[in-house]
């Protein structure tokens, strides 16, 4: 067993889990805007619930990507180039989502808001689906050759596993966001969010459960099965808590479900980081994909220093904005008028 690559495998798993745990509800809120309400103030309430934190949450993705590059450059290179088309879609989606969050409230017409809401919703959907597909494929495998390059053309990645992974993250994010909104908002938005969890989570969470089970039947060990059992208990607990109106416990249950479920996947595929569906001799593993000892050592020191700090100050942000938001917290929408005398604006 190689110590540093193993530590880094765990670190990257932790970064992805942190990303899904935090950004999951941001992406879900974005998607919920597509169908959950037509009232502008309710939309604003939902958006402001994630307002102060979403950008910090997205950094988990950036750091997960960069850490993969630094610690497992062969994994990074093979996975990202093999998934060229889906990652392009993810990028465009993430760009639209970020800009839409910032710009939707800055226009004054209904049409402006409607189009940015659509960009926000579809951008969240595209990001969640694409990232889910990428994560599923790195656990189930891609047709890569001895050099780690994809064979079989631009759509070789498009398999049932890709669709399953995409739906898994979309479904999880919708439920997670509803649990989050139940916890962070008040009024109709809160009630509707809670009802959504109670009613739809058994369906919406099916794909992620299926993904977990498929990986377990392929590679499961005793430890990973224990994690799966724990995840199932957590998700049932979350559902019961939501039903009973205990939103705080429901959120903790969902978080525990994600951590245990995703850990069971990563633990089961270890030490393979990207299986080759052509020949298992071409598998990328923590040994043949990793950077050298020195680089991993340096990165370990940096992470041991940096990541706890992130926990502290990001945790503090959630503490500062811990209050439930309700409609009366929202200022009236501000219409920007030109600071120009009427006569000169006409000319």
């Amino acid at each position: 067993m190689e110590l540093l690559p193993t530590i880094w495998f765990i670190a990257i798993a932790a970064l992805w889990i942190g990303y899904l745990l935090l950004e999951g509800f941001d992406l879900g809120v974005g998607m919920l805007l597509l169908f959950s309400t037509r009232k502008d103030r309710e939309r604003r309430l939902m958006l402001n619930a994630i307002g102060p934190v979403w950008d910090g949450n997205e950094v988990w993705l950036i750091t997960a990507g960069a850490a993969t590059f630094a610690a497992f450059p062969y994994w990074y290179a093979s996975l990202f180039s093999a998934l060229y088309i889906p990652l392009t879609i993810v990028l465009v989606s993430l760009i639209f989502r970020a800009v839409a969050i910032e710009y939707r409230g800055k226009g004054s017409t209904e049409k402006w808001r409607m189009w940015w809401d659509r960009a926000l919703g579809l951008g969240s959907l595209g990001s969640a689906f694409g990232i889910g597909a990428a994560l599923a494929l790195t656990t189930t495998g891609l047709p890569i050759d001895a050099n780690g390059d994809r064979v079989g053309g631009a759509f070789a990645w498009f398999t049932p596993y890709a669709v399953l992974g995409g739906l898994a993250v979309v479904g999880f994010s919708l439920v997670h966001a509803s649990v989050f909104l139940g916890l962070k908002t008040d009024g109709d938005v809160r009630v509707r969010a809670r009802n959504f969890v109670v009613r739809w989570s058994p369906v919406a969470l099916l794909p992620i459960v299926a993904w977990v089970l498929i990986i377990q039947f392929q590679n499961g060990t005793v430890i990973t099965w224990v994690l799966v059992v724990f995840a199932v208990i957590a998700v049932v607990f979350a559902w019961l808590s939501a039903k009973a109106g205990n939103e705080g416990w429901a959120f903790i249950g969902m978080a525990a479900f994600l951590v245990a479920g995703a850990s069971s996947i990563f633990a089961a595929v270890y030490p393979v980081v990207l299986p080759s569906t052509i020949d298992s001799a071409f598998n990328l593993t923590i040994s043949n994909a990793a950077s050298g000892e020195y680089t991993l050592g340096v990165m370990s020191v940096v992470t041991a220093f940096g990541l706890p700090l992130v926990f502290i100050y990001q945790g503090w942000t959630y503490w500062v904005f811990r209050n439930r938001l309700s409609d009366h917290h929202l200022p009236e929408a501000h219409i920007v008028k030109p600071a120009v005398a009427p006569s000169s604006s006409a000319s």
Partner: protein, 529 residues
Amino acid sequence: MDPLEIARWQFGITTVYHFIMVPLTLGLGPIVALMQTQWVRTGDEKWLRMTKFWGKLYLINFIMGVATGLVQEFQFGMAWSEYSRYVGDVFGAPLAMEGLLAFFFESVFLGLWIFGWSRLPKKIHLATLWIAVAGSIVSAFFIIVANSWMQHPVGVELIDGRPVMTDIWAVLTNNTALSAFSHTVTGAIAVGAGFVVGIAWYQLWQRRRDGIDSVDATGRVVVGENLSIPGRDRKDHAVWIKSIRIGAVIAILGFGALSITGDLQAKLMFEQQPLKMAAAEAACYDGTSFSVLSIGPLGGQNCEDVVGIIEIPGLLSFLAHGDFDTEIQGVNTLIPQYQELYGTNLPDDPLYGERAGQEIDYLPLMEVTYWGFRLMIGFGMLAAAFAALTLWIVRKGTVPRSKFLMGTALLSIAAPFGANIAGWVFTEMGRQPFVVVPNPTPGGVDGVYMFTAAAVSPGVSGEEIIFSLVSLALVYAFLMVFEVRLLVKYVRGGVASAMPELDHSDGDGNDPDDPNKPDNRDDVLAFAY
């Protein structure tokens, strides 16, 4: 379709675009933080107004930088997988450090700043902005470290034909990185300051045009107010005159620092990438003269066709070595040296695809390097001169009524952006045909270099890269329209666009003590989307 050429265009387009937003973020951030510091220290409302107004423009721009930055990190793996494999051991580390040690700070604390106006104590709220700004500058440092390693690889050993990091300290303190970082940050400060000057000029001009401010017989400003226009009270004048002076002073200081840092960087480049500098000079033969103007046939990569029109003897030697008579090697001397060290033809390796075995053209595209270098300096000098002129023009408290001058001021915002773009295009195109330039200085590791032709993803087709290039270019063009439209709208709105409470123009009586107005309840958010 040739994936290499398309991938290069994509990298160039997305990077230049990203680097329109980034210098404005880097440069405007410290200026806004300085303004808020003054507000916390003095309690004078004009500083609060400045913080809010410039802060709003800062945020409209910031988000675009974030959104386009993601593309940068992803495309190394997507389009340049062979490059990522070759350099991953050393190149990924600064990128990961950027995320962990800088970008997290920047994003989390900026969220706290935006939403924390009424939630955090004043001084802590100010600290969140300073931390976010510091995060953005540290972030720039790590990215420059990564880029500089491609310009001047250090801190590695060649093991099994691949560079393996042995000394992170050498990578972080790479002299190329230190000089490029200082040059980039001063360049960004010039961008931010120029932005402030141009927009403050427009505001002062608008106040004069609307008959709010006038000048007396000596040319000194007479400040007035017109409360039927949002935000145009007496204090508003102080906001803009202070802004324009701060902007102009910072711009002048920035350009002074730019010429010093640029000089340092040029001296290093003469040592580390002599061919890049020779190409920047269109210098075929060894000599000492700096070319002010040379012409040659467009697209002609033949050095012999270049004709020097105006040259300053000795200046090139001064730029490179600090004296007037050291001969600087020209293209014709350098190319045989490169051919001897790195071969005349690309290796017969499948990595190079159809380019395997082709003859290597060591000369970067000379029109691009030559004009990139001159445009950078030209735009920079233009913007510096305009800042100095502005400082003199506003000495009596306002700007002239001339619409032409106002237009010039707004246009001058573009000059530092132009200088930044030209400088980066010059230095990145000047790196060709290498993606990782060999390190010729003592301490360089033999064999650590990579031709761009070997860097592209072998498994990705040209069609896929066309797909991403077209998608991204369309999205970028579309979003640029919206960013500019929003910036224009918020600029035209003056301070009231960022502080709705200043807008008394709707004549609703606007009783500030009315408890039923939602904005007046104390638990209403000071900022909300």
